[in-house]
């Protein structure tokens, strides 16, 4: 199984496959494990640039030394390439977004070996098409991601978790979302619990927890509940998008699951509840047809099988 350790090597392998009718499944029979350098961490700019084979845990260890982090906490310990290709997020999705929200730029190797850059390493930039976002969620079908830059955040000075046991999670969630509290994570561990995570100064998290308790009750808990959330997310059979305002309807159709209500994301046993997005098969087909047109332009010989 080839694991490339330089961009030239990746480019050569793909160019050859393109010319000779070969194919690759990225992450399976072509990996970037050898591209494992953290190229730059600009603490004063809160940005970093890393190669795609770097594991999230390795990056976090380096960033943590200066009290910074990449605010993504997906289950497991994906490489940066996989993180982007799957656009996978964890509980911090609630406040900080998915990989597509924090990526600033990428270097890609296209199926014909072309090395292409998009974006940059500055947090604000609108020059050119956003290929960095394009490859988020592309699951290895559009290009090999070899390098990426990210926006970082400071590590919080203090954190608190509140867990509310309830048989009416949608009301609890609605009350929290309607309030002016600013939580970093808000998960429904369905059925029966809502977990809220506060980050900030010592005084701020203390008062937020107290205000949240006044509003919805519950008791403080340790970080285990977030591990449970990630574990159950990883073990889920399916992922569903839904209108955040239809949380009650969604929960009523699920036997169990991890639900991120503000994002409208549910990790389920595999059920496809009514009311989930896209709302018709036809709409989904049209999007898939557009994706195929992009695939044909970027990978006309079908080298990347995803």
């Amino acid at each position: 199984m080839p694991s490339v350790s330089s961009i030239e090597e990746a480019s050569g392998l793909l160019a050859a496959a393109h010319a000779e009718g070969g194919s690759f499944r990225i992450g399976d029979d072509l990996t970037t494990d050898g591209l494992s350098r953290i190229l730059e961490h600009e603490t004063g700019d809160l940005t970093c640039t890393v190669e795609a084979g770097v594991r999230l845990s390795a990056l976090s260890a380096v960033l943590g030394k200066t009290s910074q982090r990449l605010s993504l906490d997906p289950p497991g310990d994906p490489t940066i390439g996989a993180l982007l290709a799957e656009n996978v997020s964890g509980p911090l999705r609630h406040r900080f977004g998915a990989p597509r929200d924090l990526v600033l730029g990428v270097t890609l190797v296209l199926a014909d070996g072309t090395v292409a850059n998009s974006g940059g390493k500055v947090v604000k930039n609108v020059a050119g098409y956003d290929l960095a976002r394009l490859v988020c969620g592309s699951r290895g079908r559009l290009a090999l991601i070899v390098r990426a830059s990210f926006r970082l955040h400071p590590l919080p000075k203090a954190t608190r978790t509140l867990v509310v046991e309830t048989d009416d999670a949608s009301t609890v969630v609605a009350q929290l979302l309607r309030s002016q509290l600013q939580s970093s994570a808000l998960d429904v561990l369905h059925p029966g619990r809502v977990a809220v995570f506060f980050e900030g100064s010592e005084r701020a998290v203390e008062s937020q927890v107290a205000s949240a308790q006044d509003l919805v009750g519950g008791s403080e808990a340790n970080l285990d509940v977030w591990d449970e959330s990630r574990r159950r997310q990883a073990g889920a059979g399916g992922r569903v998008c839904f209108e955040p305002g239809r949380l009650r309807e969604m929960l009523s159709q699920l036997s169990e699951g991890i639900v991120r209500p503000a994002a409208g994301l549910a990790y389920t046993r595999g059920e496809q509840p009514s009311g989930s997005e896209p709302q018709s098969n036809e709409a989904g087909d049209r999007v898939r047809e557009l994706v195929r047109r992009i695939e044909r332009e970027l990978d006309p010989h079908g080298v990347l099988t995803g």
């Binding site: 929200d101 292409a116 604000k124 609108v126 394009l134 490859v135 309607r178 005084r203």
Partner: protein, 484 residues
């Protein structure tokens, strides 16, 4: 080029006489956007009233291979809405309805002609707001914001348009329709929303947008600090960031800009200041109080000689007044000015500002600096007098400033877009392979090349055969010697 008469007849019949403009006098209204140096008169302007109308227009354009350009309020600063001579302008002005307010989902669904500020106005009473706030927000439209991925002073904390669009209805250049996203975030598959937002109207026409609105913060505090030098103000910015504080906005103005603002609107900024820093913090009470105390300490430690804070709307508006009027105020001290839009990594700000000062001196033209210091987005205002023949020197200076930004590892544009203005500069930031890849992506959406042609990607016709010198891309420079 002249369009077949049958084309106009067909569109008149479908859209109604009054929604198809072909009188030369009326066409001239559409000949440019906010970048008035680029002009072209379109053959026709159409004003569709619905997604179906837009589809019909684009099908006709596709069939006849007629280029078209979408247009919102025409406030763009990069010429993204400059018409194609002989082509069609599709004005979205009539599609200005707010279609749905769904606060249970924290979403608002609008047509593209709705203005930015109308979205906030529609939800403010319920305690919500729409976060991206470009300074033209009273008039600029959501459609234009989507095209440009607009930012604003508060995007430091809240993000850009791309972070607030959850769904789009897109009419492709052949008239086909595709629905991207919805009210949920992170739909399956490649992030096409992320591609379309910021594509400057080159991938199709957006006819419906689902936006995320945000709960208004408990408190907002604004601080104004006067410094003797830009370096001291810059040190304060670095200090704030290093402390792990994330203000919603950090804005900086230099002596020349302060002077212009004083003449125009008399905001009463600290006398003798060489730099003014505006810092806004919002969120839960205790956090904001803690952060304000820290920011005050950092500013004083960096040499601020005057500090003011505002806790109510009136006082806040006063502190912001000078900043908000800065561009217009330049009219008081110069006959003409050009607004540049470049980005540098925040930590490189001091050296780039010094470089701009040198360039200003060597070109013999004044440059005012007013910028989003928190994210390194510079808006140098190059002052000149066209009547005195200074236009070329001003253009050269503006270009040299961009080079300084790129040399520091930054970008050609932070929020105004590439459009026509900077298409020929793209080879200075991107290699031929990068640009060719952009072209391939564009072709997937617009294989016949009729959708806002001549924008974003340089063409030999537009820029001549020889592109400017390529500078190593920021991602490439980092410990890497591997341009292939």
């Amino acid at each position: 080029m002249s369009l077949p008469e049958i084309f106009a007849v067909e569109l008149r019949k479908a859209l109604g006489q009054e929604h198809v403009i072909s009188e030369p006098e009326q066409l001239r209204v559409y000949e440019c956007d906010g970048l008035t140096g680029h002009r072209a008169v379109p053959e026709l302007v159409v004003l569709p009233g619905s997604t179906e109308d837009v589809q019909l227009v684009l099908r006709a354009c596709h069939r006849e291979r007629v280029p078209f350009v979408a247009r919102g309020a025409g406030t763009g600063l990069s010429g993204g809405a400059t018409p194609v001579a002989g082509g069609v302008v599709v004005s979205l002005a009539r599609m200005n309805r707010i279609l749905e307010i769904d606060l249970e989902s924290q979403r608002v669904v609008v047509e593209p002609g709705v203005t930015n500020l109308e979205v906030t106005r529609a939800v403010a009473a319920e305690g919500f707001f729409y976060a991206p706030d470009p300074s033209s927000q009273q008039v600029c439209t959501i459609g234009g914001n989507v095209a440009e991925n607009s930012g604003g002073a508060h995007c430091l904390k809240y993000g850009f348009t791309t972070h607030h669009v959850t769904g789009l209805t897109l009419v492709l250049p052949d008239g086909d329709l595709v629905e991207l996203g919805g009210k949920a975030l992170d739909p399956d598959g490649p992030d096409l929303l992320g591609v379309v937002v910021g594509s400057e109207g080159t991938l199709g026409i957006v006819t419906r947008v689902t936006l995320r609105v945000v709960r208004a913060p408990q408190v907002v505090r604004t601080l104004l600090a006067g410094f003797h030098t830009m370096d001291a103000a810059g040190a304060a910015v670095s200090g704030i960031v290093a402390e792990g504080i994330l203000p919603s906005a950090i804005e900086m103005m230099d002596r020349l800009t302060i002077e212009a603002a004083e003449r125009a609107v008399s905001p009463g900024y600290p006398e003798g200041a060489g730099a003014v820093l505006l810092v806004e913090l919002d969120g839960v009470v205790e956090q904001v109080e803690d952060d304000v105390a820290e920011v005050e300490r950092i500013c004083e430690g960096s040499g601020a000689f005057e500090l003011r804070t505002a806790a109510n709307e009136t006082d806040r508006a006063l502190l912001w007044k000078g900043r908000k009027s800065a561009f217009a105020a330049m009219g008081r001290i110069a006959t003409d000015y050009y607004v540049q839009d470049g980005v540098v990594p925040r930590t490189r700000l001091p050296e780039v500002l010094r470089r701009i000062e040198e360039l200003s001196a060597s070109h013999g033209l004044r440059v005012g600096n007013v910028f989003h210091a928190g994210d390194g987005n510079l808006h140098p205002l190059v002052l000149y007098d066209a009547a005195a023949g200074e236009t070329d020197a001003a253009r050269e200076l503006a270009e040299a400033i961009l080079d300084a930004c790129l040399d520091a590892g930054g970008s050609l544009t932070g929020e105004h877009g590439v459009g026509m203005d900077k298409a020929c500069s793209m080879p200075r930031m991107f290699s031929e392979r990068d640009l060719h890849t952009f072209e391939r992506l564009r072709r997937a959406f617009d294989p016949t090349g009729i959708c806002n042609p001549g924008k974003v990607i340089p063409t030999p016709r537009l820029c001549g055969e020889v592109p400017g010198p390529y500078r190593i891309h920021a991602l490439e420079r980092i410990g890497v010697a591997e341009r292939l």
